[in-house]
């Protein structure tokens, strides 16, 4: 059975993973995090990612009327890397979010997405 710390360890084992974090979408708190890169504060980063997700959900809610929006995962590619977020429903409110930043050169997004799916099902089963 996977605990939250093991979950983070497995996420960091994804090829090309630079840093990772688990966060609570409702409150914006960082649950566990690998070491953040220089100049990045983990707590702020968690709160900011929460806002990103909220904005995305708001935007999608407006663009697909007649549909309740539930995000499974979200991928953002920037100049320097890929940012992958996966949302999981839990017994507590959540959703619990796995965030991982991937190296643009070394990472395989499809593989990373697949691995995140696998990790999240094992975390909740």
């Amino acid at each position: 059975m996977l605990g939250l710390h093991d979950c983070l360890t497995e996420v960091m084992a994804i090829p090309g993973a630079l840093d990772a974090m688990l966060l609570d979408q409702t409150s914006g708190v960082a649950v566990v995090a690998s070491g953040a890169p220089d100049g990045v504060d983990t707590e702020r980063s968690a709160a900011a990612l929460t806002e990103t997700l909220r904005a995305t959900m708001d935007g999608l809610a407006r663009s697909c009327p007649g549909d309740t929006v539930r995000i499974d995962d979200m991928l953002v590619t920037t100049d320097h890397g890929h940012h992958l977020l996966r949302l999981m429903e839990t017994a507590f409110e959540g959703p619990l979010v796995i965030y991982v930043r991937l190296d643009r050169e070394r990472a395989n997004v499809a593989l990373a997405r697949f691995r995140l799916q696998d990790i999240s099902t094992r975390l909740l089963a």
């Binding site: 059975m1 996977l2 605990g3 939250l4 979950c7 609570d24 409702t26 409150s27 914006g28 708190v29 649950v31 707590e43 709160a47 909220r54 959900m57 708001d58 809610a61 407006r62 839990t90 017994a91 507590f92 409110e93 959540g94 619990l96 975390l123 909740l124 089963a125």
Partner: protein, 300 residues
């Protein structure tokens, strides 16, 4: 606020193990100086959350408490380890948010006592305090007035616009609000954390989706316009008071070196740094600002 904080910090320093009972408000459980669990009378605990989500009846959980504990809970499988850890984390942070500021009764420490759900997750006291402060600041950012936190939740019967997007918690708040339940009572009924409901209620208030308090209730009176305040606008030494608002807006946050005269201009007291507009928690001020905002919107 400081009392419970400092007491906990002291216990953490001594690496104590036991339970700190804060009157009827709640209990903090520590293990070698780290917080393992926190109960607060105002917020739902893990047992309440799990039963509200239909994972396990509260009675069954209470049986487990005396017989088998968390190991058996995990073995029987209504929750996974990750979920239980996350649930404890959420419940403790929520309890801390409401328990830490309470400073009524004298807390009593009983060494050696443990909670049956302790050991799922460990918190350090400083981190808890920091997180509570962050949450408080976030709430203030959404909607500055704390009045809605304690008043019964009354959603407006009609929308001012054509449509609105609600988040999940907001939806639950709107559907369960019976114009009598306060946010924390709603939280207990929903099995949601108190903080998430407060957050949703403040978001609703900011979106103008909450009805104002009925006229029977006392509205805070408008603050009297003082002569001195009027004079600062035109007086010879004018501007010295209102300045901090303008000063702090453009450019990056001002560093410690403001240039000469800055210390005399804004003296927020020792240890307080003015970044951004001065913050006021006076409900009268907020009320006035809200009414002004509304009036301006109606004009536009």
């Amino acid at each position: 606020m400081a009392a419970l904080d400092t007491l906990l910090a002291g216990l953490a320093k001594e690496r104590s193990t036991g339970a700190l009972r804060v009157g009827r408000a709640g209990t903090v459980f520590l293990d070698e100086g780290r917080v393992t669990y926190m109960e607060c009378a105002q917020t739902p605990g893990v047992e309440r959350i799990l039963s509200a989500r239909g994972r396990m009846p509260e009675a069954a959980l209470r049986r487990l408490q005396t017989d088998g504990g968390t190991e058996r809970l995990l073995a029987e499988g209504p929750v996974t380890l990750g979920e239980l850890q996350f649930c404890v984390l959420g419940a403790v942070l929520d309890a801390a948010f409401f328990l830490l500021p309470s400073a009524g009764t004298r807390p009593k420490f009983r060494p050696g006592e443990r909670h049956w759900l302790g050991g799922c997750w460990y918190f350090d006291v400083r981190g808890l305090v920091r997180e509570c402060a962050r949450r408080r600041a976030h709430l203030a950012l959404i909607w500055p007035s704390a009045d809605v936190d304690t008043a019964p939740v009354r959603p407006v019967p009609r929308l001012a616009g054509h449509g609105v997007a609600l988040s999940r918690v907001q939806w639950e708040v709107v559907t369960h609000a019976d114009h009598e339940l306060t946010p924390l009572e709603l939280a207990r009924r929903l099995g949601r954390s108190g903080y998430s409901v407060l957050q949703a209620v403040r978001e609703l208030a900011a979106a103008g989706l909450l009805a104002p308090a009925p006229s029977g209730e006392e509205r805070p009176a408008l603050p009297k316009r003082s002569r001195q305040a009027a004079r600062t606008k035109s007086g010879p030494e004018g501007g010295t008071r209102a300045r901090p608002y303008q000063e702090s807006q453009p450019g990056p946050a001002p560093g410690p070196e403001h240039g000469p005269g800055s210390a005399a201009r804004a003296d927020p007291g020792p240890g307080v740094r003015l970044v951004g507009p001065a913050v006021t928690a006076d409900p009268a001020d907020l009320e006035l600002l809200m009414r002004l905002k509304k009036a301006l919107e109606e004009l536009a």
